[in-house]
């Protein structure tokens, strides 16, 4: 069981009650998100735990391989500018800029490296999670 919650007594009692019900039930796994409580319970051999996999905030760089980092769109936006393929970036550099209504949002490079693939066209509307570019990390 994995739980993220406040430590007040009411929430702890809720979690205990939930665990009791789960133990008495036929369920194999349960994932509940509610006010102030996120809880995942599984019997042995149950499914993947969404809490450990969902912990990273968007944009989560998804490594395709150990030496590559994918930058994805953090929320729907229009792509304004993007580093070009082959460009060298330091960690913290602005890799791309997005437009959301009248505001500009910077997408920063999480690591140093070279831009190996640009997947999005400037001026296009990007959905949440859409790939923007891939950074090939400099060898350590």
């Amino acid at each position: 069981m994995t739980m993220a919650a406040g430590s007040d007594e009411a929430t702890i009692n809720d979690a205990r009650a939930l665990l009791r019900e789960f133990a008495r039930s036929q369920w194999q796994e349960l994932y509940l998100v509610n006010d102030g409580l996120e809880i995942f319970i599984a019997r042995q051999g149950g499914g993947a735990n969404p809490m450990t996999t969902a912990a990273a905030p968007a944009p989560a760089p998804r490594p395709e391989a150990v030496n590559k980092v994918q930058l994805s769109t953090p929320h729907v936006a229009t792509l304004l500018t993007c580093a070009a393929e082959g460009a060298a970036l330091k960690a913290g550099d602005v890799a791309a800029t997005l437009e959301l209504l009248d505001e500009t949002v910077d997408v920063l490079a999480p690591v140093a490296g070279r831009v190996s693939l640009v997947s999005a066209a400037s001026g296009s509307l990007l959905e949440f999670g859409a790939p923007i570019l891939v950074i090939l990390k400099y060898p350590q």
């Binding site: 994932y31 998100v33 968007a58 929320h75 729907v76 959301l100 209504l101 509307l125 949440f128 859409a130």
Partner: protein, 454 residues
């Protein structure tokens, strides 16, 4: 101007409903989806779906910037907010106006005014609409006691910025009024960020009655009859019906006139519902609030009028006038709706998200189901647990109940528990059949008895 491409800023069954209504008018549709709703029924039916954010509503459906940006960038010239989410937050129509998108709903100033319960009461008073005997804002515990003494106990302390039954405290005497003031203020600040309170008479045997309205924004308002939504649990409606069979004809006419007068006094535009408390013992009705949006239970009004309210909303937002005059609205028969949730009624209504492994909905004369579900649908844990609204229409209330009962019997859902069984038990209960219910009936009479038998 007529809308050519409509953006739907909602999810679930209402998103599907709006897509269907727009398609019926020959309008293109673009629907906003969160990461969890990529494969939703609305997404599949619409011309385009745009993934605006992650599953969490706060980062998707509740972010007006993401919504309006997606609408504008996809070439939409109209936006329908559905119900819940941002439908009564004035920031959405304001942003729409700034970016040249027609909002399917009232003016933002009207939304703001009606969302403030105290201001709404003032507007009702000016329009000659009866109010629940009550007070202006209460500034102190002593004020609370004075107001309670003057109104007559029992009384209800309510948050001016509130709704959905939250932040309400009952007081049976002066001491409880003073103590209740402090508690209600704290709850109101915590829930709505605004501790302003007012007080109303508490009516023990009350029915919740509301009137469906449609305005052209220029002072003309038409009504589509009233609805009775008295079967409630924790201030959430479970069953709604049209008309209110418990209210005599003359009183219902006065109710309609009051509701229309109120909406006309503010040049109300688009769909809205005026909610009233019906004091059965005194045979009086009192204004509670206006919901400035289309409501979950709009289908029962559509069933008795044969009218498509959502299409009318879209037409009005495109600049058209009302399609009908009042004398062209003909109400016939009786309709009852059950809101079906994926909840385990036996386990204190525990929300039970999961995958629907079998979905065999009912059909037949007078049966309507508004649902986005199908076999294989996954109900995500991030939003409400409503899986659909089952509606039955008949020539009278008895026939509607019979048809609804048969429909529930023929409805097979597996993979998640639903409240279908609960609804069937409610509509077969003698109190419901003989229409002796009030807003506290479900929690005080039905549920305790059902628990005792479990």
């Amino acid at each position: 101007m007529t809308i050519r491409r409509l953006f739907i800023a909602n999810r679930g069954e209402i998103a599907l409903r709006i897509v269907r209504a727009a398609q019926g008018l020959g309008i293109e549709t673009v629907v906003a989806v969160s990461d969890a709703d990529r494969e939703s029924a609305a997404a599949r039916l619409a011309d385009r779906a745009i993934v605006i954010g992650p599953a969490q509503a706060a980062k998707s459906y509740l972010d007006p910037r993401l919504i309006v940006h997606a609408a504008k960038a996809s070439g939409c010239d109209g936006l329908h907010p559905g119900y819940g989410f941002l439908s009564e937050r004035a920031i959405l129509p304001r942003l729409c106006a700034q970016h040249g998108i027609a909002f399917v709903g009232p003016e933002p100033d009207v939304i703001d005014a009606l969302g403030d319960k105290l201001r709404a009461r003032e507007m009702a008073k000016s329009a000659g609409v009866p109010l629940v005997p009550g007070s202006d804002s209460i500034g102190s515990a002593q004020d609370a006691r004075r107001a309670g003494d003057s109104i007559g106990y029992p009384v209800l302390l309510k948050a001016s910025a509130g709704g959905g039954g939250r932040g309400m405290v009952i007081a049976n005497n002066g001491e409880e009024a003073e103590a209740g003031f402090h508690r209600a203020t704290a709850e109101a600040v915590a829930a709505f960020g605004d501790g302003t309170l007012f007080m109303e008479r508490f009516v023990p045997e009350a029915r919740h009655v509301e009137v469906q309205l449609m305005g052209d924004g220029r002072g003309k308002v038409v009504h589509f009859g009233e609805r009775d939504c008295s079967v409630q649990r924790r201030y959430q409606k479970l069953i709604e019906e049209a008309p209110c069979a418990a209210m005599p004809e003359t009183l219902r006419r006065q109710l309609h006139e009051s509701a229309v007068a109120l909406a006309a006094s503010v040049n109300y535009r688009n769909a809205g519902t005026a909610e009233f408390l019906f004091d059965v013992a005194r045979q009086e009705f009192y204004f509670i609030e206006v919901n400035a949006r289309i409501q979950v239970e709009h289908p029962v009004s559509e069933m008795i009028s044969g009218f498509d309210l959502v299409q009318e909303q879209i037409r009005l937002a495109g600049g058209a006038g009302l399609s009908v005059a009042q004398d062209q609205v003909v109400l016939w028969g009786h309709a009852i709706e059950c809101r079906i949730n994926a909840e385990d009624a036996a386990r204190d209504f525990l929300p039970s998200p999961g995958k629907v492994t079998r979905w065999e909905p009912p059909s037949g004369t007078g049966i309507r189901l508004d649902s986005h579900m199908s076999k294989g649908s996954v109900i995500p844990p991030f939003y409400d647990s409503m899986v659909g609204k089952l509606v039955a229409h008949g020539r009278d209330r008895a026939e509607a109940i019979a048809r609804l009962s048969d429909a529930i019997d023929g409805f097979v859902v597996e993979g998640v528990p639903t409240t279908l069984g609960l609804h069937r038990a409610i509509i077969q209960h003698p109190d419901f059949v003989e229409n002796r219910i009030d807003t506290r009936w479900l929690e005080r009479v039905f549920l305790p008895a059902a628990k005792g038998q479990a």
